[in-house]
Amino acid sequence: MKAIYKGIAGALIGFVIGAGGLSLIRILIGLEPWELETGIVVGYLFALCGWLLGVGVWDYWGRGWFGLPLRKYKLTGWRRYFSFDTDHKVIGIQYLFTFLLMMLVAGIFAMFMRTELMDPGRGIMDPKTYNKLMSLHGMFMIAVAITIISGPFGNYIVPLMIGADDMAFPRLNALSYWLTPAVPILLLTSLAFQGWNSGWTGYAPLSVTNETGQVFYNLAFMTLGLSSIVGAVNFLTTVITMRAPGMTWGRLPIFVWSILSTAILSLLATNFVFMVMLMVILDRISGMGFFNPDIGGNPILYQHLFWFYSHPAVYVMAIPGLGITLEVITHFSRKPLFAYRWAVAGFLGIVIMSFTVWAHHMFTSGMPENPLPFMVSTELISIPTGFVFLAALGTIWLGKLWLKTPMLFGLAVIFNFLIGGITGIFLADIPIDLQLQDTFWVVAHFHYTIVGTQIFGLMAAIYYWFPKLTGRMYNERLGKLHFWVMFISFNTTFSPMFWLGINSMNRRVAQYLPEFSMVNTWVTISAFVMGSSFLIFLYNMIYSWIRGSKAGANPWNARTLEWQTSSPPPAHNFATPPEIIGHPYDYGLPGSSHAFFPISGSSGNKQVKD
């Protein structure tokens, strides 16, 4: 906890230095000493640096820049999780808890939204409050979706899967985690400054002209982007350089491939959104006019830059979910991953093509550019996406399906992503999009792809790796109950929204025509059931973590490397460094093995039990 106190102190000092210094400069050049938004932006910049330095960057890292000896703290037990710890397993758990908490909070926002939408007129809040709540829900969930698989499981599992003892840059890894708490804090602080009402997309010029709370959204998005860039550099370097001997590209588990693809996307796209957020801030605080039509600026520019990041970001969310799904489906079908190369090509194909489709969000934006190339590329991206279905279906066909909770979630992802994908085709078709854009069809579509793919994938991951993370087994009965409640209520919540979309209910509205009230009431009730299913999940996790039965090293009898070490893994992951001698998914091939652990100093090879 000491690290966090120091971080908070650092943030406060940083803010005072930043905002105070700014005031001083303003006085010197003869301006008013204080201007709210400039003060917030500059103060925040310094506060963020102060927070990072205080929380551990200075002790573990910064002192070295000045030639001072580093300070390392030897913490044990729960205290490690509140410190600048560089162990990738600790960072994974930190990510998991932070973002599950964020998801919970954003889910509560969603419950409030649905309560308001029970009623076609004014329900529990006025439209202004609704817009802010909707924006908060959106941005919280976007932050969650971008991070919640690659953060926790990318960090915890990827080094284990490739046989490394840690990430390539452990301190950068800790840095990328400790940037993230700033995101929810900023977003919630915005409420003290009238919040912001432009949704998670923050379209200019609305975002240039609205209340001060908007600046917090921009800063939060920039901070999140910074964190994911640092994470992406780390993941790429780790996977490229830290693979165990014999772990060729062709033997890389599919989940590692999905994280790698995600990292490429984050690396190459994120700074677009960083820049566009900065442009909005500059427009607001310094009188610049990127999006101001009066001086020749162009609001469409915002959408180009924004979607050039945010469409790839959709795959940043979806690909790790699909990676987990393929991973889980393979292990629980007891059969090799069907068409492994095609699945990898699918991921990489999505990565490359996702940079060509951004303007399909802008078919109705009145952009002067020709929309047809974007329609073509968007429809074509369904081909690499189809490879993922090919791999999944080919794997379960003729398998020996072991229908445990992770497997159920994995299969549900296939179903949900199928609906999400097919309904996306309609949106990619320009004539149909003219009708469906900005309606509830879009809401249903992206909830099917993000929640249905990523959050269901997350659940599969949590149940699948729970024994590895905790050393204990979750309660299977409760897990299945959670699955069925969540799966059914998820579908009854979001599938009626397709009907609403076709029948012209537009999105982001607090009040709507009374003709839609019956369906909306139904959706709200389903949403509450879906929300409550997470209570089962939380109870199961907490209870099993404390009281669950011991799981052993490899309860699923899986072949990948993370299961070949104890649960939870020791400090450096493997007692002896592994060597890879076979494919990770060779189920049903007698005598095959994925890895063995040579004992240093002896010539004998210890065969891993398979």
């Binding site: 390539a168 301190r171 370097t237 009188g287 610049m288 600026g297 162009n298 493997f574």
Partner: protein, 187 residues
């Protein structure tokens, strides 16, 4: 960047660090790609005729020379010649500072012709500002490098800190290679 010891990697720590740095630079260059895109999207190939060509050419030259001194510093430290290394770093820092002063003069002139409230001003100040910010961070890093140098850090076998800083400095130069024609020369 980091100096932890790894026993499971088949690559040297130096190689890992280099790869990480290159990836970071790749990612950072996206900021400038976005700015160039903005410049062409909003303005086409137009530019303000009032822009001061003399200052533009001078600061371009300064940055170019600073890249040479940075390069020389790296060669010298790779040979273990610390004195020459330090002198070249110092020269780089001075050139960088003069560059920033040049940008400052350019800004004060630009305020009269195309303030941030005009379209070209918006683009000009953001592009040069973003670049100057990177020059500033580069200068801070070079300052740290110099400080560590006086403390006796870096030898011909261990000069990753110097190499990384110098690579970053070259990257800042590359950005200007693209920004200079985009702001001053296009028509």
């Amino acid at each position: 960047m980091t100096t932890n010891t790894l026993h499971s990697s088949r690559f040297s720590q130096l190689y890992i660090n280099r790869l990480g740095l290159w990836l970071f630079i790749l990612s950072e260059s996206v900021i400038f790609v976005a700015l160039l895109f903005t410049r062409f999207y909003l303005l086409g190939v137009e530019r303000a005729p009032e822009i001061n060509q003399t200052i533009g050419l001078i600061i371009t030259g300064l940055l170019l020379v600073s890249s040479l001194t940075a390069y020389r510093a790296e060669v010298h430290i790779a040979q273990g010649n610390r004195k020459a290394f330090m002198n070249n770093i110092l020269a780089t820092i001075l050139l960088g500072i003069v560059f920033l002063i040049g940008v400052g003069i350019e800004w004060s002139e630009a305020f009269d012709h195309f303030p941030p409230g005009t379209l070209f001003g918006t683009v000009f100040f953001t592009m040069t500002g973003m670049h100057a910010f990177h020059v500033l961070t580069g200068l801070l890093l070079l300052g740290l490098l110099y400080l560590r140098g006086t403390q006796g850090a870096y030898s011909k076998n261990d000069y990753w800190g110097a190499e990384a800083t110098i690579k970053y400095w070259h990257f800042v130069d590359i950005v200007w290679v693209f920004f200079y024609p985009a702001l001053y020369l296009l028509s």
